[in-house]
């Protein structure tokens, strides 16, 4: 049996573990609540039938980046750290399997579970948009594709953080703080410096919603300079669609290499 087959086998068991451990169901419940909220708020305060299909679809897609962050946290935050903390690593690691097979088998399971959640969310948006407009704009499918690329990339980054720790809870909390606070603060502060935050994955993730802007895809300003007064200059950058994808790909590759090296060398003391 080759490494890839072993990876798929391990991935299957890990996915079963996610389903049984209720994480998947909890995230699906949260997703369901968000969908219900979007639908009811729009129905009560807005008039989806009178807006364009693109506008309705973009309303739905606006929560997608947050959902991807939640998904990465749920399925990646403690993925590797918990093997050390819960001592399941004592069962898993002495097997004649390369460490990277375990790491990426687990990653595939997380990706399958996370991808399922994102797909269900977008499917609900499809039904919702189609219900009011009898069509779904092409931008919506691009948004879905970008959301999946963001998931692939962010999950890889989350796995990298998870390999740094030996305590699942600590790994989960630190990753949550990073994604919900630190990255957003950096993105905000950087606007005052006039530097494009090309190094930020959350900046790249903006393409999930930017795709809906303008008359055609990519029809939005890359750079906007504002002068709110008191001599302050705020520079707002929007990533090009290709740029967003490139940043996410960069994160995927770099964090995949680092996590593979760290996990390969990590000891079960």
């Amino acid at each position: 049996m080759n490494d890839f087959e072993q990876m798929l086998i391990y991935s299957r068991y890990q996915f079963r573990n996610y389903v049984r451990a209720k994480r998947l169901w909890i995230l699906l419940l949260i997703t369901g609540l968000v969908i219900a909220l979007i639908v009811s708020v729009n129905a009560y305060f807005g008039n989806p039938a009178s807006e364009t299909a693109k506008k309705t679809a973009s309303t739905f897609a606006s929560f997608a980046p947050t959902l991807v962050v939640l998904t990465a946290l749920f399925f990646g935050g403690d993925a590797i750290a918990s093997e050390y903390q819960n001592k399941t690593g004592y069962f898993l690691l002495p097997n004649p399997i390369r460490r990277y097979v375990i790491l990426w088998g687990k990653y595939l399971a997380s990706l399958a579970a996370g991808g399922l959640v994102v797909l269900i969310y977008y499917l609900s948006g499809t039904v919702y948009t189609y219900y009011y407009h009898s069509t779904v704009p092409v931008e919506y499918w691009y948004s879905l594709a970008y959301a999946l690329v963001f998931l692939v990339s962010l999950l890889s980054l989350t796995y990298m953080f998870s390999t740094f720790f030996k305590n699942g809870a600590v790994a989960l909390v630190i990753v949550a703080i990073l994604y919900f606070f630190v990255f957003n603060i950096i993105d905000g502060v950087i606007q005052l410096t006039g530097i494009e935050p090309w190094f930020s994955i959350t900046y790249a993730a903006n393409i999930i919603t930017l795709v809906f802007q303008g008359s055609h895809m990519g029809d939005y300003p890359h750079k906007t300079v504002l002068h709110p007064g008191n001599g302050i200059t705020v520079t707002i950058y929007n990533p090009y669609l290709w740029e967003g994808l490139a940043i996410m790909l960069g994160y995927l590759i770099i964090s995949a290499i680092i996590s593979t090296i760290v996990f390969e060398k990590k000891e079960m003391k």
């Binding site: 086998i9 068991y13 079963r16 573990n17 451990a21 819960n86 001592k87 004592y90 069962f91 002495p94």
Partner: protein
């Protein structure tokens, strides 16, 4: 089939958990690995199972370095190190299936493996609420299920009740019958004496002794046995048995008999004891010899 440690060293800062261990165990047998707490027993087993990386030296299994070629080295090896936790949502049957799949084993007799460790009736229950002893049994079954050539066991009866301990020892004895090398650490001298053919001792990360159990008996025998009895007999009666030099009562039901050199005397004394109506329940020289060896070589101050 063999395991070999070549200059195997593990250092944490200035502390040597294992210092230049050179030892080779080979063939179908059970080798007991003894030492006090912190001697480096578990460190050694972790180095042989790729859970730790050596600071220096190599752990070699069947000619393959665990550090350089883990997959080949561990191909015919199963290990139970510490008390592994199992995925709580899985059933024992699923854990064993997973173990087979991960080890690329085609023929997996899950039923037999679970029966052997007395867990077959629990096969469909999730392991999350199992006791430590039950998890240890499942881990042992998962190790057994692939029919490995070499078994590395770290205190296999740890956390078990006396009945469980006896059952697992029986399992290990049975495993020995089917051409396997069992390398087993234990903190129970009696367990090693009962189950193993060879013994290795280490202390403070350093090699102390590698010997067959027979050699241990010869070298550390001291011509005395501990005899456990149901009722304490008349001491004078035992002292009068030919070959007996002295008798000492060590507890309510235990005697220490010092006899004249030679295994003949040992046999004669047992025969005379039975003939005299002494209700002997235990007469195990090996256990005593191992204890003697352990105390002489390592000392009792950090008794494990």
């Amino acid at each position: 089939m063999y395991l070999e440690a070549v200059n195997l060293t593990k250092r944490y800062g200035k502390f040597y958990a294992l210092n230049d261990l050179n030892v080779k165990v080979e063939g179908s047998k059970c080798v007991g690995y003894l030492g006090p707490n912190g001697a480096g027993k578990t460190t050694t087993l972790k180095l042989f199972t790729s859970l730790l990386r050596p600071t220096r030296g190599e752990a070699i299994i069947n000619g393959h370095s665990v550090q350089k070629d883990k997959v080949q080295a561990l191909k015919d090896v199963a290990a139970v190190v510490e008390t592994p936790e199992l995925y709580p949502t899985f059933t024992p049957e699923e854990i064993l299936q997973m173990s087979c799949a991960l080890r690329s084993v085609n023929k997996c007799d899950i039923k037999h493996a679970l029966e052997e460790v007395g867990m077959y009736e629990w096969r469909n229950k999730r392991v999350g609420k199992f006791s430590k002893g039950m998890k240890q049994r499942i881990a042992l079954a998962a190790a057994l299920v692939g029919n490995p050539e070499i078994l590395i066991l770290d205190e296999p009866t740890s956390g078990m009740d006396p009945r469980g301990m006896a059952e697992i020892r029986e399992v290990i004895r049975n495993m020995k019958k089917s051409q396997r090398l069992i390398f087993m650490s234990s903190h129970l001298l009696s367990e090693v004496a009962e189950v193993c053919d060879e013994v290795i001792m280490i202390d403070r990360g350093k090699f102390v002794l590698h010997s067959s159990m027979d050699d241990v008996i010869k070298r550390f025998g001291g011509n005395s046995v501990y005899v456990t009895v149901l009722e304490m007999p008349d001491m004078a009666k035992i002292e009068s048995i030919p070959g007996v030099k002295s008798v000492e009562k060590v507890s309510e039901n235990r005697l220490n008999i010092v006899y004249e050199p030679g295994e003949d005397a040992q046999y004669r004394i047992l025969k005379e004891l039975i003939y005299a109506g002494v209700k002997v329940t235990e007469y195990n020289a090996a256990k005593q010899m191992l204890e003697n060896a352990y105390l002489k070589l390592i000392g009792g101050d950090r008794n494990d």
